[in-house]
């Protein structure tokens, strides 16, 4: 089936593309919503501009659409972007990396059903630690592009996540300092290298911390190498 992937550049949407291709589907375009609202309920915002390079590295056409990120209105912007992409690339379904957020997943399901598209969420309800373990075993490299949870301090930002880091995250989770069970948002990620990328994404960035456990990367430069 020809699919469009809702793409944030993070581990979930990138891994969903990998799984869809493994199941014989063709990803004909990537759709990214660039939200002006850093607190958007729907859209990932840190390092979103890097998606253009990631798409280039995968050789998949990329549609980048702007949204003000206002609650509910941003859904109209998403629907418009999907319709525009469908007209251009003629796909039968939409692929997302939705993992745990009922808010995000149900809104995308409604949009897809309304315009007669299949909706695929292959990571739905997957344990995030198990997912990250799988990503490392499939040679995905990713960094945290934002953190917003107790225990996730500045040193987690812009750091390539390793198996040792997963052990540290498991400990934080076991000590109830970090919960993976909610609607997400404890951290956002950026994939810099994976088997689907022809070239690695190299970024330069500065960190902006709101407090000791909340902060994000501001990308100041990016290139494919």
């Amino acid at each position: 089936m020809k699919l469009a992937a809702l793409f944030t550049g993070g581990k979930d949407s990138t891994y969903a593309i990998h799984l869809a291709r493994q199941n014989g589907h063709e990803i004909v375009c990537l759709i990214t919503l660039k939200s002006q609202n850093p607190d958007s309920y729907m859209f990932h915002t840190p390092a979103i501009e890097v998606t253009e390079l990631q798409a280039k590295s995968m050789g998949i056409p990329h549609l980048l659409a702007d949204t003000t990120g206002e609650k509910e209105k941003e859904l109209v912007d998403l629907e418009r972007a999907i319709i525009t992409a469908k007209w251009k690339y003629n796909f039968e379904g939409v692929l997302t990396g939705a993992l745990a957020s009922v808010y995000q997943a149900t809104r995308i399901q409604k949009i897809c059903f309304g315009i007669d598209l299949w909706c695929f969420n292959p990571l739905w309800m997957k344990d995030p630690l198990e997912e990250m373990q799988e990503l490392l075993s499939h040679n995905f490299e990713f960094i945290f592009s934002s953190v917003a949870a107790d225990g996730l301090t500045k040193d987690w930002l812009n750091k390539k996540i390793t198996s040792e880091d997963l052990e540290r995250l498991k400990l934080l989770n076991a000590n109830n300092k970090l919960s993976f069970s909610g609607e997400g948002g404890e951290f956002e990620t950026l994939v810099t290298k994976c088997p689907m990328f022809e070239k690695e994404v190299i970024i330069t960035a500065r960190m902006v911390m709101e407090n000791s456990c909340t902060g994000k990367l501001i990308v100041t430069g990016a290139e494919l190498k």
Binding site: A20, V102, C112, F113, C119, F120, P122, W124, M125
Partner: protein, 173 residues
């Protein structure tokens, strides 16, 4: 051993509809509905849901006729409940509910009680034959059914998302 049955036309949908149930059940055998001929070697059977756009299992309803003869406990989730109703002469109705909704228990049963919040994702509901009792409902449609004589349960909502204890209650039944 529990048999988990996929109703998904596309294998990519299994991650969404079968995977979360499998994580609750843990030890199980997984089969696609088209491969299931006999179920009596298993202790219990769970028929999982599928995508809103996927109608394949309804077009192949004879593949579920084992439901009419088995004496094993069966839990049908969403499309699983719909095929259960259809094999006993029920019909599908238009019913579009997506997201968290409130469910009210209508009849005492082994899986749940009271009023509670569930995740729903369906574009059809069911009108069941006289073989079934409706044991739960939302504001608009039947969300739980139970065969009057056999241990056959159907849920229109998805307990694998926010109500794992219901699947656990079925396993422990």
């Amino acid at each position: 051993m529990i048999l988990l049955i996929s109703t998904c036309r596309e294998k990519l949908s299994d991650g969404e509809f079968l995977g979360p149930v499998k994580r609750v059940v843990k030890d199980c055998v997984v089969k696609h509905f088209s491969e299931v001929d006999k179920v009596d070697d298993y202790d219990k059977i769970i028929i999982c849901g599928t995508s809103l756009q996927d109608n394949e299992c309804f077009e192949d309803i004879e593949k579920f006729l084992w439901l009419t003869t088995t004496t094993k406990p069966v839990l049908g989730i969403c499309a699983g409940m719909q095929v259960m109703a259809l094999t006993f002469g029920g019909v599908l109705l238009d019913s579009f509910e997506v997201g968290m909704i409130e469910i009210e228990t209508l009849k005492e049963n082994d899986l749940f009680r009271g009023t509670f919040s569930v995740y729903s994702l369906h574009s059809s509901g069911v009108n069941v034959s006289n073989d079934f009792d409706v044991i739960a409902k939302s504001a608009t449609t039947a969300h739980g059914i139970k065969h009057k004589e056999k241990p056959l349960y159907g849920l229109l909502f998805h307990p694998e998302v926010r109500n794992h204890e219901i699947i656990q209650n079925f396993i422990n039944m």
